[in-house]
């Protein structure tokens, strides 16, 4: 299958690969997986005191589209508040990367990863 130029760009030069310490108070970690293709995605956000996401990192084991989707969203969430980050929709990711229908689940995975990371961050800070 032919990948779009944007997918190839993110695949060949993935942004923000890596990890933060999970114990860090400002860090939220999201782990998600897609059973149908066996892709596993870890996405972390580092949130400042003002509630704005300062940095993001990811590690994904999966196809080019899954790697590109997670790479793209780590760029998108930077500078957003956690609430704004929750507004990112898989359709926006799929559109930006021109994902074909069979790869839509990769963008769903990336959206779910952000949600999971924000949920983890909030859990640390509740109460």
């Amino acid at each position: 299958m032919a990948y779009s130029e944007k997918v190839l760009d993110h695949y060949e030069n993935p942004r923000n690969v890596g990890a933060f310490s999970k114990e860090d108070e400002g860090v939220g970690t999201g782990m998600v997986g897609a059973p149908a293709c066996g892709d596993v995605m870890k996405l972390q956000i580092k949130v400042g005191k003002d509630g704005v996401i300062e940095d993001a990192k990811f590690k994904t084991y999966g196809c080019g589209s899954a790697i590109a989707s997670s790479s793209l969203v780590t760029e998108w969430v930077k500078g957003k508040t956690v609430e704004q980050a929750l507004e990112i929709k898989n359709t926006q990711i799929a559109e930006e990367l021109a994902l074909p229908p069979v790869k839509i689940h990769c963008s769903i995975l990336a959206e779910d990863a952000i949600k999971a990371a924000v949920a983890d961050y909030k859990k640390k800070h509740e109460g």
């Binding site: 782990m31 998600v32 997986g33 897609a34 059973p35 149908a36 293709c37 066996g38 596993v40 084991y61």
Partner: protein, 177 residues
């Protein structure tokens, strides 16, 4: 010879609706049916009957493919029980399980990069052993406890493990060539 196209694959091969099946009986029933519905036997008959025999043959082949492999058999069994295994929709596996999957994949990646085929072979053996245990668990959940929601979760775990097994095989093949 005629086949009821409405019946499910278990009915087709005369098997009980269970995860644990008699594989030899499946194989025997398959070859028996396949011989009886083969389109060559209908070559001299009118087109409508030829078409019907094609449908039967397709059904028999698809049924055999579905029931022969444990993972597709389990998914199919759950479907019959009205449970969607959520293979395309459920992304919320337990974090501990996903973390473990990440670690497995990192280990495979590192061994592949370093050309350590012995390490890969060991990972292969460990994963195979682990898979066997998880398949035993799946069999208990399906056939003894009839806990199909738990079985669906186990099927999802096994999908990841199967993918991992393929990755190890790929890595081993790449190192050998």
């Amino acid at each position: 010879m005629s086949i009821d196209l409405q019946q499910d694959f278990y009915g087709l091969f005369g098997l009980h609706r269970r995860f644990r099946i008699d594989e030899a009986a499946l194989e025997f029933a398959y070859h028996d049916l396949q011989g009886r519905v083969h389109p060559d036997r209908y070559a001299h008959l009118p087109d409508s009957e030829k078409r019907l025999s094609m449908q039967w043959a397709t059904q028999v082949n698809e049924g055999f493919r579905t029931l022969r492999k444990p993972l597709s058999r389990a998914t199919y069994l759950l479907e019959l029980m009205g449970i969607d295994a959520g293979l395309h929709t459920n992304t919320a596996m337990s974090p501990a399980f996903l973390m473990e999957q990440m670690e497995w994949r990192e280990a495979v990646e590192e061994a592949r990069a370093a050309g350590e085929s012995e390490e890969l072979a060991q990972l292969h053996t460990r994963l195979r052993q682990h898979s066997r245990e998880v398949f035993d668990e799946l069999a208990r959940q399906c056939d003894d406890e009839h806990d199909y929601a738990a079985a669906a979760e186990t099927v999802r775990r096994l999908m990841f493990m199967e993918k991992l097994q393929h990755e190890i095989d790929d890595a081993l093949e790449a190192l050998e060539s």
